[in-house]
């Protein structure tokens, strides 16, 4: 039972992370291969604010989000100057540098990481794991609501226009700079939220929890589900975060499968399971059309 709670909480955290990355890479089309860095910044910020500064979870969490988003803002400014492939390398670099900072400064606990991170409490009652999961589910619902509004908003459409063609977006009067920055801030803020939630769930964090392979895992989720779609990252996170738990034998071959899957998907199905050109979506559309056709014929 407790095991199921743990897996479910991790799935929720990955949904938050993947939804955030989807804003940056899926909607705005900006490569970010260092998403785990912002996940880590959120986690370390929240952990330090509670253990060393003495804030409560409820105060530390929003601050952690703001701190991660601020660093994301800086990365966004850098991104404005760089070509797509240079930016991709830079984001990888950010991931390595951030993990190194966690590893090499006493303040961040070095390789041992930080422990003793408190679970949040409500009216003096400290939440246990299942209760915490309820809280996390509410947070995920809130995140998804915000993402849903974004994906159907004018802002979402404008950000997608930037992804499709920057110069054309400019020529329509769209402020491409502001839109890109907005996407980076929004996406990394969600990563920070995921980090905070993770830190207070595990109560113990270490630098390797936020290393480059985690960025790849999250990217895998977004790409598998379908970048730039609302449900894609959710589906991707659920599949990839729960599969190794359901099929234990996978655990051994985790990176083999993730890596291979990522490469094969990108070659044969770059739109992902729920993307526009996906075999599933096309198949579904064909099915709907056929059913409709029958209804028309019989009617």
């Amino acid at each position: 039972m407790l095991y199921l709670v743990t897996v479910s909480t991790m799935v929720c955290i990955y949904i938050i992370l993947a939804s955030g990355l989807n804003i940056i890479t899926g909607y705005a089309g900006q490569p970010n291969l260092g998403h785990a860095a912002f996940f880590g910044i959120g986690a370390y910020a929240s952990a330090l604010l509670t253990t060393k500064v003495g804030l409560s979870f409820w105060a530390a969490m929003p601050l952690a989000v703001v701190i991660a988003a601020s660093v994301g803002f800086v990365l966004g400014i850098i991104s404005l100057r760089l070509r797509e492939d240079f930016l991709a390398i830079t984001t990888i670099g950010v991931n390595f540098v951030v993990v190194s900072v966690f590893l090499y400064f006493d303040y961040f606990g070095r390789a041992l990481g930080l422990g003793g991170i408190p679970r949040p409490s409500i009216f003096g009652h400290v939440l246990n794991k299942p209760e915490y999961l309820v809280l996390v589910v509410f947070l995920v619902a809130a995140v998804l609501l915000v993402c849903w509004v974004f994906s159907r908003s004018r802002l979402g459409l404008m950000v997608s226009a930037v992804r499709e063609d920057e110069l054309a977006a400019h020529s329509l009067g769209l402020n491409v700079t502001a839109l890109k920055l907005a996407a980076f801030v929004f996406g990394t803020a969600l990563a920070g939220l995921g980090g905070s939630v993770y830190a207070h769930f595990m109560t113990f964090i270490s630098p390797y929890d936020f290393a480059f392979p985690v960025s790849i895992t999250v990217m895998c989720m977004v790409v598998l589900g379908g970048a730039g779609t609302f449900w894609g990252p959710v589906v991707g996170a659920i599949i990839l975060a729960s599969a190794p738990e359901i099929m234990r034998f996978i655990q051994q071959y985790r990176m083999l499968i993730y890596g291979g899957l990522l490469a094969v998907l990108m070659i044969f199905q770059p739109a992902g399971l729920l993307g526009a050109d996906s075999v599933f979506v096309r198949g579904g559309a064909r099915l709907v059309a056929r059913v409709r056709g029958r209804v028309v014929q019989s009617g």
């Binding site: 890479t25 089309g29 490569p31 291969l33 850098i78 100057r81 760089l82 070509r83 797509e84 492939d85 240079f86 991709a88 390398i89 830079t90 990888i92 670099g93 950010v94 390595f96 540098v97 190194s100 900072v101 590893l103 090499y104 480059f212 392979p213 790849i216 990217m219 895998c220 790409v223 071959y253 985790r254 990176m255 083999l256 993730y258 890596g259 291979g260 899957l261 990522l262 490469a263 094969v264 990108m266 070659i267 044969f268 770059p270």
Partner: protein, 286 residues
Amino acid sequence: MVIQQIANGLVLGSLYALVALGLTIVYGVLRVLHVAHAGVFVLGAYAGLLVYVSSGSIVLCLAVAMLVCGFAGFLMYRFLYRPVLGRPALIPLIVSIGTFMFLEDLYRLVMGPYIKALPLKLSLPGLDLPFLRLTGQQLFIVGVTALLLLALWWLMKGTRLGLAWRASAQDMETAGAHGINTDVIVGLCFVIGSAIAAVAGIMVGSYYNQVYPSMGSVPAYKALAVIVLGGLGSVPGTVVAGLALGLAETLTMVWVGTILPREAIAFLVLILMLLVKPTGLLGRAS
């Protein structure tokens, strides 16, 4: 002392340059950041190890590793990159990263997770001066790097292949329209770059006397930093950047101590440099 450290830095830098050279050749024609190159590098180390252990011949070990890796490089081009050519730059990059992670795990499963020794027995004399000591192995590394660079330089400047490579690097379509079989050129680039990676793998493996499945993960991304610093697609730029990085790392280790691990230094330098000059160290504005 200073001269000794500079020499050590240059030996390390030669290794970086060797690993990054293949990436540069590939980037030059395809504009693809070939992260999986590091997977070929590890393959070279393992192939060399197996051949050396069973035969004891350094020449055979190098030759077989270069052949195996050259073939592997060709397969990668044919089945991984060619299908995604012309798509946004991010797609081949992700394909490449995915492939690299796949390979790393594959090596772990096939060869085991443990560190294996690669003690190449070189009957080379070392250099022993009052102010400078280099082992025979260090000299070997610098010598092989120089030899490969010369060979590459000749290939680029003195042969029809080099001319075709430069033409394709400038403009693939125009080169194709003038009768250059760009598919073959790109394939050859992968073969040559991968063969160099095999040598690099054996050199690194024997230098540290360690061959293990994840030995490519740091070079994979550090080599990216090197080729970006070198201006992407520029062979001399890559060599300069590799040597400079080797020097910078060695000298900061000595004088400043370990503030940050080496990987972080490479990327910090890279990020700062890109902020000042977004087109790369020796790159021209597009």
